[in-house]
Symmetry: C2
Subunit: 358 residues, 2 copies
DNA sequence: CTTTTTGTTGTCAACGTTGTCAATAATAAA
DNA sequence: TTTATTATTGACAACGTTGACAACAAAAAG
């Protein structure tokens, strides 16, 4: 019994063993701990021989630099993702994109959901930067559109990357990852026009929502390009929700001439539109074509699957993360350029040629 | 011009001013920095007078303890949320619940999406604990069901809280937040039976999915309670997706007698069921009642809105977070009890009395 | 052969905090 | 009043790491 206990204690000791530090590695390799630090940080001026030996010891001890100590001594190794977005799927994809980049580069992500309408958002973020030693921040709309906030953060010495979409020209406050909603709206509309649709409805216009403005701009541009007329009555104001999609669709279906195609500003609206069309005994796409935007799960959680525009959120976020990290690493802040993403149409089954085509 | 430049530099200096440290506060208050530390940590034995003065200075300088330094010196102040769940909405709600608790208590959250099927998941988590100085971990299904993994983590000296649902009896490995799927499935089924339905279909059984097992158990229990018979053919195996929901519904609708009510194992299946019912020219709920589970956004993104079971993910997550934090703070690990959540039915419009009731 | 340059390695302080323990002041007990 | 006790405060080391700089060895230049 006593023996067994002893054995247990021993095993415990082994499994509970302290995490190895840089000094443990140094002792094992027979060098000063500073040399190990050099190897770990891939600094110059370490002889090949020593480097190999140290790397061997690192592997052997399964040593991992202590993030915390590193951050304290050196520059921050964490970045924050700040968002205020009701769309879970969007947020998760962004998070995953950022995390994938962070893992590659040994950085850490702090997520910070917030309320963009709050007066306190600036203070709140400042506090977060402060206490969590955040070096960089990724902002999504609508926070990224808030110039005042961006300036405030820049003044706190944080690197900021803004993810922006929509029509408004980007300023030079901070690097931007721009999502070209205008062009995407243009492409998608052109597709519908080329199918032969003459009366397109645009659902989900929202004056304060940059993305919707961009998409609408593209919608108009595409019409203009082929000399088609945009019917102002078919541009409907509404929320980005299923319910609103149903309501807006009900409204446009009662108009005459009835539109043969619906450009929904996002997939959720489109899903609502599909549902309402069905309630009105219209077949999709035979009687009415409906397209969405975002390529969110909604687009395949309705029937038929939605033709939509793919928004590569993962990649966008990863790009933003790569930018912040680059900014954090180089002293020269303004060496980082903004980047842009163009979006592609995903053809599925909710749009086709109008049936009673003349 | 020169003067203006000078002024600019000055303003900059002010805005860029270094974050105040505990020593700055100490100097201002005329005490040693250790005393400030005591005030910050609400330790005993600080005279009321000094305490007030220090607090005043803290406010004045807008001092915030440096999380990083704290973690390094003391115990960890971060916890990790580890998940492998395709359901964005679920993950976001959980995250928000945990964050709300973390903010209250000054802790930090590290999110860690992972692949539960990977062989490396243990190693991966160990590395994370190590480098990020994680003190506690919250696991969700299916990771939380993996006893081996839990043991492994416990051996790494991490506090673990598991969120579990389903029918299987919890073990005593680590504290658990248990979600009572069985009882909820029972309640929801009883509701349908009380409405007068005789033929209920159960969609989304999945042998390896604890939640579905629990819900099915409740489904059976409720039948047994009132002496009703469960038709085995109406228990359909399938994924938790819209598409699978459509397919399973198609299958049960072709059976005879046709079920008058469908118990879908989650809202997504239910949404697919509603859609299929509609395709088959059945009205919901007049011709067929359909209920979901989870109260996810899907439940209101279909028409009619789904009667479902509310799963308070935010609260569940917050409870789990509170537990881990408590465990991290007290040395006495096993003072923390497990806790359980019961779920409530949300009555909406997708279920009613069967119409051709005898 | 000496001097300079270059490359490699080590020593030490510092980051901002908390734990330990000693020093002092205030209070209670003798 | 003196002593013992307690409450308050401070000095200092430590956590694991990196930056600055010094020390040394080797190679190049004179």
């Amino acid at each position: 019994m006593l023996l067994k206990d002893k054995h247990l204690t021993l095993t415990r000791k082994i499994t509970f063993m302290k995490k190895p530090t840089i000094k443990d590695v140094a002792k094992l390799a027979g060098v000063s701990f500073k040399t190990v630090s050099r190897v770990v940080n891939q600094e110059q001026n370490v002889s090949e021989e020593v480097k190999l030996r140290v790397q061997e010891c690192i592997k052997q001890l399964n040593y991992q630099p202590n993030h915390t100590a590193r951050v304290m001594r050196k520059s921050p190794f964490s970045l924050a993702f700040v968002y205020d977005n009701p769309n879970s799927h969007y947020v998760i994809e962004m998070q995953n994109g950022i995390i994938s980049e962070c893992r590659k580069q040994g950085f850490e992500l702090v997520i910070h959901p917030t309320d963009s309408r709050s007066e306190e958002v600036g203070k709140e973020l400042a506090a977060m930067i402060n206490s969590s030693q955040i070096g960089g921040i990724i902002l999504t709309p609508p926070l990224s559109e808030n110039r005042e906030l961006v300036t405030f953060l820049l003044n706190r010495d944080a690197k900021v990357v803004r993810i922006l979409s929509g029509a408004s020209a980007p300023d030079n406050l901070a690097p931007v990852v721009h999502v070209d909603d205008v062009e995407a709206g243009h492409k998608l509309t052109s597709y519908l026009l080329e199918l032969g649709h003459k009366h397109l409805a645009f659902l989900g216009y929202h004056a304060s929502h940059e993305s919707s403005l961009g998409r609408l701009q593209g919608f108009k541009d595409a019409h203009e390009e082929v000399g088609a007329r945009v019917d102002k009555n078919l541009i409907v104001d509404g929320e980005f929700t299923f319910e609103s999609g149903m309501a807006m669709t009900k409204q446009v279906l009662s108009m005459s001439p009835r539109p043969t195609a619906i450009f929904a500003c996002n997939d959720e609206i489109a899903a609502g539109a599909v549902f309402m069309a069905r309630l009105k005994e219209l077949r999709v796409p035979e009687d009415i074509s409906i397209v969405g935007f975002e390529n969110s799960p909604f687009s395949t959680q309705t029937w038929p699957h939605l033709t939509t525009v793919n928004q590569p959120n993962f990649e966008i976020a990863a790009a933003a993360a790569a930018m912040v990290i680059k900014m954090m690493q180089s002293k020269d802040v303004h060496s980082v350029d903004s980047s842009g993403f163009t979006l592609d149409v995903v053809l599925r089954d909710s749009a086709s040629k109008p049936q009673n085509d003349k």
